[in-house]
């Protein structure tokens, strides 16, 4: 199973290298979003809670600009049928999820580096907590946006629908991640944050399970 899913990931990666569609638009989106924030902030110093919020706002909208591609590109080119004919739905979902996880992590690492270089208020005191929160936050973002991408790939109005459908689903995840990022700024310990960490891990597990169970209904015509 893993090998087949990995092969699908390799195919997507290779295809991405040839077309550079998602990576280019993602990179441009991150740059544009961060520079808009920089322009509007000007010389003022912004509070840490605002920085944490803006950090996840940029992550959310960047994800919305690139992650739907995993399924939408297959549907637009008409290659969905070919995939249906060579693999079971779980294989397809695993492969696409893996691709999106890699994309989300690369994108968010870049955003984190840019934020810590450009914003003075992005000062992490508890680095371990930030890493853990970042990891589970990104995983949850990738899982939820992959299943939503599968849903919208089968609907009309693909581009506009994606953030609309994803926002309510991702809202608890984003709110929790913002809280955790703030805690990492404050220097809170792991035991202070255990409730939020439990929430975010539960979210990841529940979304992952539900996605695997429901993907069949989305994937089959």
């Amino acid at each position: 199973m893993t090998n087949k899913a990995y092969a699908l990931y390799q195919k997507d990666f290779h295809s991405e290298m040839r077309t550079r569609y998602a990576v280019n638009s993602l990179a441009m989106f991150v740059i544009v979003a961060i520079s808009v924030i920089l322009f509007s902030v000007g010389n003022e110093t912004i509070t840490q809670s605002l920085t944490a919020g803006l950090f996840w706002v940029v992550i959310f909208f960047s994800a919305m600009s690139g992650l739907s591609r995993a399924f939408v590109s297959e549907e637009e080119r008409g290659t969905t049928l070919a995939l249906q004919l060579v693999a079971a739905p779980t294989t397809i979902f695993s492969g696409k999820l893996f691709f999106n996880i890699v994309l989300v992590f690369c994108m968010n690492i870049v955003i984190t580096i840019l934020y810590s270089a450009l914003f003075d208020s992005f000062a992490i005191k508890n680095f371990g907590l930030f890493i853990v929160a970042f990891f589970f936050g990104c995983a949850g973002l990738a899982i939820a946006s992959t299943i939503i991408a599968a849903i919208i790939s089968k609907a009309g109005a693909k581009g506009t629908l994606y953030p609309v459908l994803s926002f309510p689903i991702l809202l608890p995840l984003i709110l929790t991640s913002v809280q955790l990022t703030l805690m990492a700024f404050d220097g809170s310990t792991f035991s202070d944050a255990k409730f939020e960490l439990a929430i975010i891990i539960c979210y990841d597990v529940i979304m992952l399970t539900a996605s695997y169970l429901l993907f069949d209904f989305v994937w089959k015509d």
Partner: protein, 214 residues
Amino acid sequence: MTDYSLKVDNISKYFGRRLIFKELAFQINNNGILGISGSNGSGKSTLVKIIAGINSPSSGKVIHSNDNIEIIPEKLHNYLGFVSPYLVLYEEFSALENLQYFSKIRGVKFNTEKISLLLEKFLLNGRQDDLVKTYSSGMKQRLKFIFALMHNPRLIILDEPTSNLDSAGKDVVYQIIEEESSSNIVIIASNEESDLLICKNEIKLEDFKPALSA
């Protein structure tokens, strides 16, 4: 060779509340060619998609079994070959890359000998490293046959197999169908006289529609 059987058990299909066909049933064992005919929009493609497990019927069941053991839907794709005009392969890859990725995703070994044999048969030798987007529609159609046959399927479903093909291409296809049908099941959905001529049995979809007067 194992015993492969396809049993279509009283399937009906509605789109929304519109009836496409009703109580369709047949069975084929091991080998042979079955034709499915019907006018445009009569549901030929829908029927072959249901047989291939891509669509589900509104009622009834399609049972594939191998040596009398029912094949679970998650494994069915390994026994199937499928060619149709609406099947699209990756244009940004070459023919060979396409076939390599598909066998990897399927989880079967890439059989170089078999592939080069098929490439030769389908007159694509020498073009296998060109990107698929540079192919003509006839070449794409022939590549789809290689895609469908490379993993030795037991059930080969051909939806309008000769569309976009010139007479040389058609001859190759008919010859392959003859070869495959001696050991495997071939289902052809088509309206072309010449396609239906090679079929041993034929299903007319018009027979499974409700009478228009009702």
